[in-house]
């Protein structure tokens, strides 16, 4: 995917608002379970239904999680209060949302992308989620529907809204920002990070300007429920805005909806009258001033964040050399999937870091939740078996797949699969057989053509039914060449 603005005189300017559902046990202002895949309108009470006479009481865990987000984003965690944001909408039980306005709990932080680009975080505040509407007719969409059905199980679920500064300059950076933020949220345990399921909801404020010029009018794009949608929507809308300006018209400030199937944004149908939210301090709640001791405790409980975890793994894997791009990618994948402890654990038990990293990033990554359940001992053993030639790469991958699927020790699985290690004499015999029938190729190898080694490895594998270890074959070949060149 290439950016429309790459190399052009235009620059795209993006700010992101990410709504994060917190993984508390209960809702933000009542003790209903924070769980909304259930039977409709069962996880509700007078408070989250907005029944007359009910009153909100703030969830202490939600405050802690919001403060943790702030600490993880290098923000100031500060005295805060709640406001009411007034507008009518049927999935909002009180017809106002309790949110934070002038005094958010977190302010003035930043997030460093893996490439080193720093994105400012203007604020992160607590607010309550709305219920969920299902539209009847009209293909399940709002437009053209005959009516809607509302389930309030989600109403009152705690959200943290993380608002970035307009520091993002490309679709790629936007994706990277959300991916990094998601990793942080998962690492700190405040979110499950499932974008497709709505645990993380992204709105993008997009504008374009001529490089060095003044900022253009921004459009807000909603309904970005995957990293792919986020990137595509930004590219599409930036291109649209450039076209509008270049045709001599003006970009109008509006909210647009990303249509994933159509691959374009459309303006939202909203009232001609601008919304006037009439924010005012929520009289049913009192201010929240996270005490210093709480912040100290949260900071001390803060697990290592993805950037730190990547650095640790890179340092270990690169052994002081400049890490390769492939190793960096593997490290990013492993950290993103929470498999870094597995790799580090294997390494600390003497297994090859490089090989452990590869198996974690490539094979274990196909089933991350099973991989996170692997015992470090078993994984370390598997990597060592491969490293020592006890298992070939192909065999090691097959054993790992079985470990992920059914569990068990690598030794037992290898035995049950019939992966008997070739003893050195069997291996030598197999190599001799192959050399005997491929004299011309052997001569080329002896003459220094290293590429032929791959051919021999393949042949030996065939002869041994995959039991040979490629590295061991190469070692035997190299030794044979040395022997044949010896005077």
């Amino acid at each position: 995917m290439s950016d429309v603005t790459t190399g052009s005189e235009w620059e795209v300017v993006v700010g992101l608002e990410v709504h994060v559902e917190l993984r508390t046990a209960t809702k933000l202002f009542c003790s209903c379970p924070n769980s909304f895949g259930d039977v409709p309108n069962t996880n509700v009470c007078p408070v989250c239904l907005g029944l007359p006479g009910s009153l909100p009481v703030l969830n202490s865990r939600a405050v802690e999680m919001a403060a943790t987000v702030g600490l993880a984003l290098n923000a100031r965690v500060q005295p805060s209060r709640f406001h009411r944001k007034n507008y009518f909408y049927p999935d909002m039980p009180k017809d106002y949302q309790i949110s934070q306005y002038d005094l958010p709990i977190c302010a003035a932080g930043w997030l460093d992308l893996p490439d080193g680009h720093r994105v400012g975080v203007e604020r992160a505040h607590l607010e309550e989620d709305t219920g969920k509407s299902t539209h009847l007719g009209g293909g399940g969409r709002l437009h053209g529907s005959d009516g809607s059905l509302v389930d309030y199980n989600r109403a009152g679920v705690p959200l943290v809204e993380v608002v970035s500064a307009p520091d993002i300059r490309s679709a790629e950076q936007a994706r990277s920002y959300v991916a990094e933020l998601r990793s942080i949220l998962v690492a700190t345990g405040v979110s499950d990070g499932r974008m497709e399921e709505g645990s993380l909801r992204v709105d993008a404020n997009v504008s374009v300007r001529r490089r060095g010029g003044t900022l253009g009018t921004r459009c807000e794009i909603k309904n970005l429920n995957s990293l792919r949608s986020l990137g595509r929507a930004i590219e599409h809308d930036a291109a649209r805005q450039v076209a509008v300006v270049e045709s001599g018209r003006q970009v109008s400030q509006e909210t647009r909806h990303w249509n994933e199937e159509g691959g374009h944004t459309v303006p939202l149908r909203s009232k001609e009258e601008a919304f006037d939210y009439r924010y005012f301090p929520e009289p049913d709640l009192v201010p929240v001033e996270p005490p210093g001791e709480l912040l100290d405790r949260l900071a001390s409980e803060m697990p290592p964040l993805p950037a730190e975890r990547r650095r640790r793994l890179i340092d270990l894997a690169s052994e002081g050399r400049q890490p390769s791009r492939a190793a960096e990618d593997q490290v990013a994948t492993v950290v993103d999937l929470g498999l870094d402890d597995l790799v580090l654990g294997a390494a600390s038990r003497g297994a090859s870091t490089r090989l452990a990293l590869a198996r974690a990033a490539n094979e274990a990554a196909t089933d991350p939740s099973a991989a996170r359940g692997l015992s470090v001992e078993s994984f370390a053993k598997l990597v060592s078996m491969e490293d020592s030639g006890r298992l070939s790469a192909t065999q090691a991958k097959a054993v790992l797949a079985r470990m992920l699927g059914e569990g068990g020790s690598p030794e037992q699985i290898a035995a049950s699969l019939g992966y008997e290690a070739l003893d050195p004499s069997q291996l030598s015999a197999a190599v001799e057989t192959v050399l005997a029938t491929n004299g011309a190729e052997w001569q080329r190898f002896v003459d220094g053509d290293e590429k032929v080694a791959g051919f021999f490895v393949g042949q030996v594998m065939r002869v041994t039914g995959g039991k040979a270890d490629g590295r061991a074959v190469r070692q035997v070949l190299a030794q044979r060449r040395l022997d044949s060149l010896a005077p």
Binding site: T24, S31, C32, T42, V44, S148, L149, T255, E289
Partner: protein
């Protein structure tokens, strides 16, 4: 007096706040409410005209902070109790006529 009332709130402004409040007023009501609201705002002129630049606003009479509850699940209502009050319900959900505009 009439002059100042007219300045405080116009019929158009009353129509605007009626729209924001999801109320529909007849022409007669608009006129009547405009003059009644203007009378209240006129009375409030003493407050509006005070120099309170240095005064902090009070949004609450009680100086409490950090009133929190533990994150422990409590009782919920049954779906039947919840929907007993519903003007219209379908499939365990509240039914409403079509929604024309997306949430802001």
């Amino acid at each position: 007096m009439l002059q100042s009332m007219a300045e405080r709130i116009s019929v158009e402004q009353v129509a605007h706040v009626a729209r924001l409040s999801r109320l529909r007023l007849t022409g007669e009501e608009l006129e009547r409410f405009a003059s009644q609201m203007a009378a209240v705002l006129d009375h409030a002129a003493d407050v509006a005209s005070l120099d309170l630049e240095q005064v902090l606003p009070t949004s609450h009479p009680l100086p409490l902070v950090n009133v929190l509850r533990a994150d422990q699940p409590g009782p919920t209502l049954s779906q039947q109790e919840v929907l007993a009050a519903a003007p219209e319900a379908v499939d365990g959900r509240f039914s409403v006529p079509s929604i024309l505009a997306e949430a802001p």
